[in-house]
C-alpha cells in the first residue's frame, strides 16, 4: 500500500517536472508579474537582451492550450523553443525528428499513448493554428500536461498576445540573477514550489504516506504485543531455567527485523506487480532511493514498535509459572 501510494505520488509529482528536469534547469528568470508561474510570464526582447542563448541557457515560451486532431482533444503545454540551445538539446526523441520548420511540433510520448500519430496535422492555440507532429519525446510533462515543443516565434500567435512579447522565461544551468526590475529570478526549488498545485499535491501525499507508515507501525506493534503476551508463559519457563531475558529479547528483536524485512520486500514486489496491472495512463513511478528509504523507515519503525513487547519480556517474572 505504502509503496503503491508513494509510487503514485511520485509519478504524479513527476508529471509536473519531467520537462524541467530534462532541461537540467537550475534557475529560471521570468516577468515579475507572473509570480513564479512561467506560463503566465511575458518577456519582451528588451527583457531578454541581458540573457545569452547557448548550450547552458535557453529561452522558453509557454502557454497552455488544447491540441485537436482526428477527433482527439488533449490539454497540452505549448513550449516554444529556439534551435540548438539548452532545451532543444535536452529533448530525448523516441520517434521522429526535431522540428525543422515553424509549423512542426515535437510532442510528449503521453500524446502518442492517447492516439496522436507521427505526421498528423493538429490544431493548437487561440487561433486554431495548424501544426504537424514530427517527433515524440520522453520525459516531457509540465505541470501535469504533456508538452508540445514548437518554434518560439509561433508562441505569441498560439497564446494570442502581442508579438511585442517573445518568450516567457529564460532557463539556465547557471544561477541567473534579475538584471532589470521587470524580471525576477527563481532557483529550481522555488520555481517548482510555485508551480500551481505542485507543493499542495506533494504535501498531501507526503502526509498520507507518513500516516500510513504510522498506522502500519501501530499494527505491527499490536501484532507483536499479542504474540508476546501469548508467549509470556513460555518465556517465563525459559527464564526459570536461567536463560537470560536479554537472550530472549534479542531473539525476538532479530526475528522482528527478519519479519519486517521480508514483509517490506514482499510488499515492494506486490507493488511492482500492481503497477504492471494498472493502466499506463495512471502515472506511477518507482524511485529506487525512495523505496529503499520508505522500506528502511518501515523496518526501523517496526523495530522500534517491538520495543514495547521487548519491555514485557524483560520484566517477565519466572516465579509466575512455578506456583499452583
Amino acid at each position: 500500500m505504502i509503496f503503491i501510494l508513494s509510487a503514485l505520488a511520485f509519478g504524479l509529482s513527476r508529471e509536473n517536472t519531467t520537462a524541467v528536469e530534462a532541461w537540467h534547469t537550475n534557475s529560471v528568470v521570468m516577468s515579475k508579474d507572473a509570480d513564479g508561474n512561467l506560463s503566465q510570464s511575458l518577456l519582451t526582447a528588451d527583457d531578454l537582451a541581458d540573457y545569452a542563448v547557448n548550450q547552458d541557457q535557453a529561452q522558453v515560451a509557454l502557454t497552455p492550450g488544447i491540441m485537436k486532431g482526428a477527433g482527439l482533444r488533449e490539454g497540452v503545454m505549448f513550449v516554444g523553443i529556439n534551435a540548438d540551445d539548452l532545451v532543444s538539446r535536452s529533448i530525448t526523441l523516441t520517434k521522429g525528428h526535431l522540428s525543422q520548420n515553424s509549423d512542426e511540433l515535437v510532442v510528449s510520448d503521453k500524446l502518442r499513448q492517447k492516439g496522436f500519430k507521427l505526421g498528423q496535422t493538429v490544431e493548437l492555440g487561440i487561433n486554431n493554428q495548424n501544426f504537424k507532429i514530427v517527433g515524440f519525446a520522453k520525459d516531457a510533462e509540465y505541470n501535469i500536461a504533456p508538452v508540445a515543443y514548437g518554434d518560439i516565434k509561433e508562441w505569441s500567435n498560439v497564446k494570442g498576445v502581442s508579438n511585442r512579447f517573445v518568450a516567457s522565461g529564460v532557463v539556465s544551468k547557471k544561477t541567473l540573477v534579475a538584471k532589470s526590475d521587470q524580471v525576477k529570478a527563481y532557483s529550481k526549488a522555488q520555481f517548482l514550489n510555485k508551480m500551481p498545485g505542485y507543493s499542495a499535491q506533494n504535501s498531501t501525499f507526503l502526509f498520507m504516506i507518513v500516516f500510513l507508515i504510522v498506522i502500519s507501525v501501530i499494527v505491527v506493534t499490536i501484532f507483536l504485543y499479542i504474540l508476546t503476551i501469548q508467549k509470556v508463559e513460555n518465556f517465563a519457563v525459559l527464564r526459570a531455567q536461567g536463560i537470560p531475558s536479554r537472550y530472549l529479547a534479542l531473539n525476538t528483536l532479530s526475528q522482528t527485523v527478519i519479519i519486517m524485512v521480508s514483509a517490506v520486500a514482499l510488499s515492494v514486489i506486490l507493488a511492482l506487480l500492481v503497477s504492471l496491472v494498472i493502466p499506463t495512463q495512471v502515472p506511477m513511478y518507482f524511485d529506487i532511493p525512495l523505496i529503499l528509504l520508505t522500506g528502511l523507515g518501515l523496518v526501523v519503525m517496526g523495530t522500534l514498535g517491538s520495543l514495547i513487547p521487548m519491555g514485557i519480556i524483560a520484566r517477565i517474572d519466572p516465579v509466575t509459572v512455578i506456583g499452583g
Binding site: 525459559l238 537472550y247 516465579v319
Partner: protein
C-alpha cells in the same frame, strides 16, 4: 558437606489486612548425595519454598546459602546465570515450549550454555529410564500428561545441574512410573552426588527419601526416619 541451607526464611505476600505469610521462619538443609523430600498439603508453601531455594524469588527475611555462598541478594542477571549453571528445575506445571519438539526443549539451552551439559550417552540413559527415548521428535501437544512430565524432568537433568529442584514431579504419573522416577532421582543423588529436593504431597515417594520435611501452613519440621 552441607550444600543447600535456608536460615530463618520468612516469605510474606501482600500487606496490612491482605498479608499472607507463606513461609514462617524456615530452617532447612539439603545435602548432596541425598534425596530430600518436602511433604505438605496444597497451599502450605511448597512452591514458594522451592522458588526461594532456586533464586527465583527473594525471601522477605532470612538467608539462602548454597555451598556457603549467599544467593538471596543476587541481582536478576546473577541469579539467571546461577540457575543456568547450578540448578535444574522441574516445574509444577511442567511447562514445555509448544513450538519446539522434545529434543529442542533440551538443546535450546545450548545456545546460552554450550558447555558443561550432560554427555549424550548419559542423557540417553536418562531418557531410557524415563521411557521417553521414542518421543524425541514429538511436539508437546502430542504428549500425554505423564509423558510431558517426564520430558520436563529430563529437561531439568540436561544441564547437569548440581541441584535438582522438583515441584510435584509425579502428580501425573501412575504407580509404576512413580517408582521409576523416585528411583531415578535417588540414583542421581547417590551416584552423582547431587542434592535433589522434591516437593510433593505424593506419599509414594517417601520410600526413596533420605530426609523428609513436613511443611504445614508455612511451618516446617524435620521428620525422624
Amino acid at each position: 558437606m552441607e550444600k543447600l541451607v535456608l536460615k530463618n526464611i520468612t516469605k510474606q505476600f501482600g500487606s496490612d489486612t491482605n498479608l499472607v505469610t507463606a513461609l514462617d521462619d524456615i530452617n532447612f538443609t539439603a545435602e548432596d548425595g541425598q534425596l530430600t523430600l518436602i511433604l505438605g498439603p496444597s497451599g502450605s508453601g511448597k512452591s514458594t519454598l522451592l522458588t526461594i531455594l532456586g533464586g527465583l524469588q527473594r525471601p522477605s527475611q532470612g538467608q539462602v546459602a548454597i555451598n556457603g555462598q549467599n544467593i538471596d541478594q543476587l541481582s536478576t542477571k546473577e541469579a539467571d546465570q546461577f540457575r543456568l549453571d547450578h540448578i535444574g528445575f522441574v516445574l509444577q506445571s511442567y511447562n514445555l515450549v509448544p513450538y519446539l519438539n522434545v529434543k529442542d526443549q533440551f538443546t535450546l539451552v545450548d545456545q546460552v550454555k554450550p558447555k558443561g551439559n550432560v554427555t549424550a550417552q548419559k542423557f540417553e540413559s536418562y531418557l531410557n529410564t524415563l521411557g521417553i527415548t521414542k518421543l524425541i521428535n514429538k511436539f508437546p501437544t502430542e504428549l500425554s500428561g505423564g509423558q510431558t512430565q517426564r520430558v520436563a524432568i529430563a529437561r531439568a537433568l540436561y544441564t547437569n545441574p548440581d541441584f535438582i529442584l522438583a515441584d510435584e514431579p509425579t502428580a501425573a504419573l501412575d504407580s509404576s512410573r512413580v517408582e521409576e522416577v523416585g528411583q531415578l532421582f535417588k540414583n542421581i543423588a547417590v551416584q552423582e552426588d547431587k542434592a535433589v529436593v522434591v516437593v510433593t504431597h505424593d506419599l509414594r515417594l517417601r520410600a526413596y527419601a533420605d530426609r523428609i520435611y513436613q511443611l504445614v501452613d508455612g511451618k516446617i519440621s524435620l521428620e525422624e526416619i
